[in-house]
Amino acid sequence: MFIADYSEKNIYDEMFSNEGYPRKSYDFVKTKMESLGGIELVKRSSSAERALMSLGITFTLYGDGGEQERIMPFDVIPRIVPSEEWISLEKGLKQRIQALNLFLTDIYGEGKILKDKIIPRDMIESSSGYLKQCIGLKPPKDIWIHITGTDLVRDGAGAFHVLEDNLRCPSGVSYVLENREVMKRTFPELFEKLNIRQVYDYPYHLRSMLENLTDVSDPVIAVWTPGVYNSAYYEHSFLAQKMGVYLVEGSDLIVENHKVYMKTTKGLRKVDVIYRRIDDTFMDQSSFRPDSLLGVKGIFEAFKRGNVALANAPGTGVADDKVIYSYVPKIIKYYLGEDPIIPNVPTYLCSEGPDLQFVLENIHNLVVKAANGAGGYGMIIGPKSTKQEQEDFKELIKADPRNYIAQPVLNLSTVPTLIADKIESRHVDLRPFILYGKDIYVMPGGLTRVALRKGSLVVNSSQGGGSKDTWVLG
């Protein structure tokens, strides 16, 4: 039942080569899965899902049917990245984060890259992630982006590309850690046999990275969540728990004399480092959106004065703007003098005349995304859309070309996936997590998101995607 010849031409399958043979890294897994057989696999899969439910590893969907709590569908067939590929990815990710960090220091500082006309100034200034309030800001140790989740995809030939950078509040790392725990319970025999690189120590890396942001010894650290109704609340509390730090909401914090305090049963206590999981402009009513219900008045000023460290620093959003993304290869070259190790996906900027024309004429063949969209919202996948949807989207683009980019439809790679009691191929992407502290740490693995609907390329959990454990071998 197991090895149906499902692979299509022009799609790279992570387990099988085009000739239908298992790749070397998957040899053992494939044999093991076959010997377990379909019934056993389904059994283990449901027991894994039950475990996730008991652990309450859920996210909340808000929609027509009211509020629904569910687990992110979890697939038990792992996605494996061979070590030689990982080594190169790791290098490429480090290179990218370094360059993006230098870029942020520059554009909020001297602005050399603008003076040298590598990037047009108005591209920066028109980005919604660009915060004028951050001009001249010097974050601790000159690091802006402490936590990154970069989305990677493979093209039809199997080459990795960066699809987008997530530099503000990337989420999903808790699933990586929990999925791994569940996988260890589900397939102990695979873990005994294979040399799978560990991910459990991510919270320790995260914590020491946060400690590195201050000179205070034994600092008070907090994870700042928008609250229990946020869809990623589970992750916020998970990380706070694993790091052994406080989890706070805006209402727990108060700024006095430009210092940040939290309200405790013994009175106010100073907070030194905050890992914030709340959007830039909602952080502080006195510096950004005055209508924010989540923010803490004066926290930005406290940050500017160096009285509290924030990770990620405010203002990083400009660097994950999907328009700025298209300049990242140039950014890498400009600051590091190197060629990018992981290429971008070719990108058309609708703000550029010829590109716009091309996008409007070829929308049926392209993916068009809003520059600041996330979670699969504000986008159109040409080949999967109706004529009417295309026309409607063209109007959106014409009304605000700066806000849109387009990319060819990538045939994301596939991994065999258990669907009901059969194994079928499904598209995946990969979000590794990178921490920038004293050194740059790339967690070996990351979140593999899988589009569970047949043929679908949309992997976001808010759009019905699931996840897989990612194994880096060796």
């Binding site: 008991s54 309450g56 229990v228 727990d252 309200k263 405790t264 049963t265």
Partner: protein, 322 residues
């Protein structure tokens, strides 16, 4: 610890304790109704009196039939104190403080909640079909609730540090328990005897016995007293110093938790919650069951409830708002 977290811990424990007590109340009434013969009226309204939610009950149901009362107290979503609602709220509180409790504690609570949710779903679906007969094994359900509450306590006892979080847990748990013990005792006030001549009758004693069972105090009571006697039962449930559901015991636990929270060793000024608890404990020490009965048991219990509310308000004022 954060004030918000302290408050959530406190309420999480109150809700669990409340759910547990509700399951005892219902179970005992259920057993009692099975013991009674046909001539004796089957009384379910006293149970609603015990919970203090008569008004809401009457708004939602036309008559205090067994089915209505059971539904109101177990699965009714509109009743903020039903077992289902207590569980939902306990879990919501737990969700907001997960980083402060152990994974196994969260797991126990989460599984408990999912279980009750399943029970509720089945109950709702089948009660339509069964009309006026109870569509589930009530005793099994109630015993599941109690066992799950116990494993929650056991798990928290064994897996979290006995520091502030723990002490706020105890505070919530024992404040709720003391309140519910007063209400159990008071239930007898609302249960009607067929005639005044029945005082001291088998039926009267059967009802008193059922109160003891509500408090899971039957066995411990028997070790201390030789017969079923209203005065002795009241004494046991109010003044006993070692039985964990007596009012005295609960207050003693609260006093200790409050001392640890305020850290008397650090020489910090005492706080109002602590003072109120101590004052009341001293009062209990100076009292005996005769003086209580002379005053009138119902009035006395009312008095305790007011006192407990006062202590609760002081806790909120001192620790949860700033």
């Amino acid at each position: 610890m954060l004030s918000r977290v302290a408050e959530s811990v406190f309420w999480m424990n109150r809700y669990i304790e409340r759910a547990e007590n509700y399951s005892r109340f219902i179970d005992v009434n259920h057993q009692l109704s099975l013991d009674l013969n046909e001539e004796v009226p089957n009384q379910w309204l006293p149970l609603v009196h015990t919970t203090g939610d008569v008004e809401l009950f009457e708004k939602r149901y036309s008559e205090p039939s067994p089915l209505n009362v059971i539904r109101f107290m177990t699965f009714d979503e509109e009743n903020p104190n039903s077992i289902f609602q207590c569980l939902s709220r306990a879990r919501e509180n737990a969700r907001t403080i997960r980083e402060n409790i152990s994974t196994s504690m969260w797991e126990v609570l989460n599984e408990f909640y999912l279980l009750i949710k399943d029970y509720r779903k089945v109950y709702m679906e089948t009660s339509e079909l069964h009309g006026d007969t109870l569509s589930m094994d009530l005793s099994e359900f109630l015993s599941t609730v109690r066992k799950s509450c116990q494993s929650f306590y056991g798990c928290s006892d064994a897996t979290i540090s006995h520091d502030e979080v723990w002490n706020f847990s105890l505070l919530g748990r024992f404040l709720e328990r003391a309140d519910k013990t007063t209400r159990i005792l008071d239930m007898k006030y609302f249960i009607l005897l067929p005639s005044v001549h029945d005082v001291g009758s088998t039926l009267d004693l059967l009802q008193w016995l059922s109160l003891l069972k509500s408090a899971s105090a039957h066995e411990m009571y028997n070790q201390k007293y030789k017969r079923v006697d209203p005065t002795d039962i009241a004494e046991f449930l109010i003044l006993n110093e070692t039985f964990p559901r007596s009012i005295f015991f609960c207050l003693q636990e609260m006093q200790e938790a409050l001392e640890k929270i305020s850290g008397i060793k650090e020489g910090l000024p005492r706080n109002l919650a602590q003072d109120a608890t101590t004052v009341y404990l001293n009062r209990l020490r100076s009292e005996n069951i005769k003086s209580i009965f002379d005053k009138g048991l119902h009035e006395y219990l009312d008095d305790i409830q007011i006192e407990l509310n006062h202590i609760g308000a002081k806790i909120v004022e001192r620790f949860f708002t700033n």
